[in-house]
Amino acid sequence: MSQSLIHLLQHQAHRVPDNIAIVQKDERISYGQLYACICAVAAFLRENGLAPGARVGLLLENSPQFVATYYGVLAAGGVVVAMNTGTKSRDLVNWLKHSEACWLFADARHPELAAITTQMRDSIAYVIVGEHPNGSAITVGASWKQIQENGAVNEPDLSYSGQPGELASIIYTSGTTGHPKGVMLSHGNLFHNVNSIVGYLKLTGDDIVMNILPFYYSYGNSVLHTHLAVGATIVLENSLLYPHKILQTMEKERVTGFSGVPSTFSILLSRTKFKDYDLSSLRYITQAGGPMAPASIRRVIADLPNAEFFVMYGQTEATARLSYLPPDKLEQKLGSVGIGIPGVTLEVQDDQGNKVAPGEIGQIYAKGDNIMLGYWKDPQTTETVIQNGWLVTGDLAYQDSDGFIFINGRASDMIKSGANRISPKDIEEVIAELEGVEEVAVVGIPDEILGQVIKAFVVASPNAKLEKKAVMAHCRQNLAIYKLPKEVEFVSELPKTASGKVKRFLLADTARAS
């Protein structure tokens, strides 16, 4: 069998066609039904001349349609560009143009769709999924319904799909106009990371996972692929806004697995009681996406003693996963992100690329078949993060004498808020556009629930009458909700180095102190 996600899914569709692949509200989609939808998408794209390696944008919430489109694009030999649905049109249009996507599959209800069609016009072809609630039909492109009604006469020919070294997906991790960062993942990257995770989590077709993580990000993406690869069931809930609903569904569906980021667990621990629900079917819990307080981990395992708790660490540039802490070592090594997953080598190295001694702090370097091909159309930035075959993670850490890794901060300025890794530049670029702003710098400040929240320091032009509300309104209009600053402070100047670079660490210290 060829080594790619679409081949794994095809195998499950033939092996267990009646097993349930996706559950969302009252909808239950079997592997056979899902595969038929995938074949219909692939047939449509091929009939409409999709060239091998051509990019297809996805602007869809987690749903059976997302999954069928993702795999349908792969089956047709295309490249998936799944975009953050919480993002505003300025980033979405930027990514569509940068990736040179020729198709966009978009939810008819997406609030930015009208702005996208206005800006992109006919430079891209559209497939509209679902209907607008007001019945105001989007009159561009094909409809999802029609594609599914047409179906596929034959299964797609997968003989040229999914070659290991070929590009399968681009994930955009930042949206600045000048330098959007699109992580290029190959079929081989996705396949190897999936296999490794399936192995250490011991996933089988009997597993049922509750997924609340967005599929357009690497963590949610790996939850999706790993469970489909083994014929398991994925139960979808798309928001943590109402956590009781999630636990009710987990109880009802007898889920065996649950994945979250630290803020997921903070919200569940503070607003619900696990003990009010029968969660005895839960076999594994995974946590990634930033450090989780040991006290919170202890509370989760005390309330859910039947489940194994996997602390994990990774990056989009590594497809998703780099390390995990085996649950039997959790108590002994609490605070560690563990060891390299099967097939991944991790080393802590100094600035000269030498491995440092146990206990000494350096930067985490990673090697393996899951390391990205590079950044799309950006060989210069690629060279800074892939050096001599190693991925330079930007995370500072030390290894103990048993080889377990303990993260000790980041070498870069990226802000980690909830599940999101945010480039300060994305926000600074937007605030700087506002009339009356002379300079701006953005930093992450500690937050009990989200890990970090965003604070903006703004220098107003002389005589400018700028208020916090105006800054926030402008941000609200142009930035995704998770990129909105929580605090805005007006300052007379920004601290800078002799060469004029803003000293963000000083601003972060000031923010923490206040």
Binding site: P111, L241, Y242
Partner: protein, 82 residues
Amino acid sequence: MSIEHKLRGYILENFLFTDDESALSSSDSFLEKGIIDSTGIMEVIYFIQEEFGIEVDDNEMIPENLDSVNNIVKFLEKKKAA
């Protein structure tokens, strides 16, 4: 000032950062429209507890009670009648 008016003012001021009444319909789903995130909903709960003198129990934090201005108005009326 009606409950609906107070709630609308609060959401417009604190989540949409505007005085423009047309930016929010009382039937808009906070979740579907991306108006409020999972931490923002706690701020809304604190606001309605303080402003309207009620307690919101954990098991009342469901979309039927909280996911739009209209839903909150109905929820408050039900709480006050109880």
